[in-house]
Symmetry: C2
Subunit: 363 residues, 2 copies
Amino acid sequence: MDLLPLEALTTPAALVDLDRVEANLARVAAYTREHRLHWRPHTKTHKTAELTALQLAAGAMGATVATPREAAVMATACDDVLLAYPPVGPSRLAQLMALPRRTRLTVALDSVEALEGLGHAARDAGRTVGVLVELDLGMRRVGVQSPADAVALARAVAATPGVTYRGIIFYPGHVRVPVEQQESALKDQGARVREFVDALASEGLRPDVVSGGSTPMLWRSHEVEGLTEIRPGINVLNDRNTAALNACAWNECAFSVLTTVVSTAVPGQVVVDAGSKALAKEEGLAPTGGYGALLDRPELVVRSVSEEHGLLDVSGTSWRPRVGDRLRVVPNHVCAAVNLHERLHVLRGDTVTATWAVAARGW
Amino acid sequence: MDLLPLEALTTPAALVDLDRVEANLARVAAYTREHRLHWRPHTKTHKTAELTALQLAAGAMGATVATPREAAVMATACDDVLLAYPPVGPSRLAQLMALPRRTRLTVALDSVEALEGLGHAARDAGRTVGVLVELDLGMRRVGVQSPADAVALARAVAATPGVTYRGIIFYPGHVRVPVEQQESALKDQGARVREFVDALASEGLRPDVVSGGSTPMLWRSHEVEGLTEIRPGINVLNDRNTAALNACAWNECAFSVLTTVVSTAVPGQVVVDAGSKALAKEEGLAPTGGYGALLDRPELVVRSVSEEHGLLDVSGTSWRPRVGDRLRVVPNHVCAAVNLHERLHVLRGDTVTATWAVAARGW
């Protein structure tokens, strides 16, 4: 495509700073190399084949996805795909079985019902699908509850034609503890993982894959004993919540929403055209609250949002942008924000050098 | 299209119950006829030309929109479109000016900057665009603050070639008061509107259009003195928040999300495949909290959501759906939920009789 200046974009527009993306990729690549962890980024964060290709080029060994559509899109760039979501229902299974034959597919699940459906679909399709048994390590969302349950399900996996047992998976997304408690939290996580691994090993079901990790504790993943693979999603783009957790620096935030000031009629307030439809209405972990902050003035916060309106509180400053001015907002949660946009505009500096379809939205 | 049974749909899927839509339309049509109010529904709720066509057939006199894309889509079904959003920036203005010549376009604004841009664009396009001066009646989002400011802006509108002054507009979306305080709230609103109208009239700028109204107080709109037009959006589909406000009955909720149980591994909890990406993460006004409730068991609540997971608390009941079962969830805020779906599946009973593209998503 032709190069475009930033000013030519219609707002609200989703922007990706490619210099920052490359730095973020290099950092996680170096980290995972140093600690001999497999790096399988969760691609739901960006939902584009293009960014998956960059992640693979930087050293990722495969892609993680949450939906069959994400699997289909990422399979155009990547031959090793993990669906970290229970594959339940005939249409989801049909979508999965329609993946290219070359795609090495692995699926996480926590129930015999999901396993049976997957086994049937795989046999009908003449494929072999890898399975990871999902564990609940305290997040209480999905996952088997005890080592005995894990052993029972792993045994069922091993006995089901069409699928092959590959190991265990968990998501420690609930582990967001203050720095001084992180070491013991990671030790606890490692001890809990070991209970499951030992129980499985004693039944001849030692997991080849022990898949964990999340962005908030990304840089300490190596402290979790026994981990073979991490699946950070957010860290390729980062966001305001990740910065609030000190899991990235503010200048590692590679995603922002370009927005236009549309009203300054209410004193002390600036209204921009990025509301919940552009930023997502996701609670903030930053102590200053709100739904996002200005890239260049992170102390200025989008205090409230309705669908098409973002309300910036400027009462504490003398800065007064005018109707028509453009601002860039870093949202609290990048995955939710990306999902609201049809395309990502890719920047080098202030020049749009490419536009990527967010092809993996939906299901 | 061929008729489909509900079971054939991939989940999560957005469903619209057409019998309920028709009843909702008939009720608001009768109400606005009785009270001689113009009915200009806000089509951001459903974002489809098909539902706009049904609203016009039921008696609506035009469509309200929030974005240029909504304007373009609704203009295929409706020749009288109100953009209830400041038209700021060259690309938004270009999109508006590209509307069909037959479209009677009116725009709400609250600043001289927005007015000047619109006037330029209209003159360049050889069109005349109607303008409503936006008032802030207490919501503190957009809108001029005082009758004097309204007079100044209306005067500027009247003096700007390419645009024509049509009246005033406001959004009383903040008025969500207990039933026993509604009468005085509506009287206050009427008194405030009268201040603005009197000030404008005394300067020869009496508004032909006085546009207000929202779903929460819809059925008492006639108590606001001087109102000529109402713009309810949600009431065509309704949602859990509207039911919580007693502005609709639960069986008037015409929108739901079909979802599949994907995990029951955590005791007392059922996980469905409708999370924040399918329901939207919008705070609930219902006293039972959460992000949505089951259509057939409204006491069962989606307690928390992540992107692909909705967590139903079933600990207080003996009901235990199984992995693979399908449920229908009514979300808190229908507009935000519709915006997340590519299409609406239209039901008569349990049969899908049509599928409508949510063509007006994005900007």
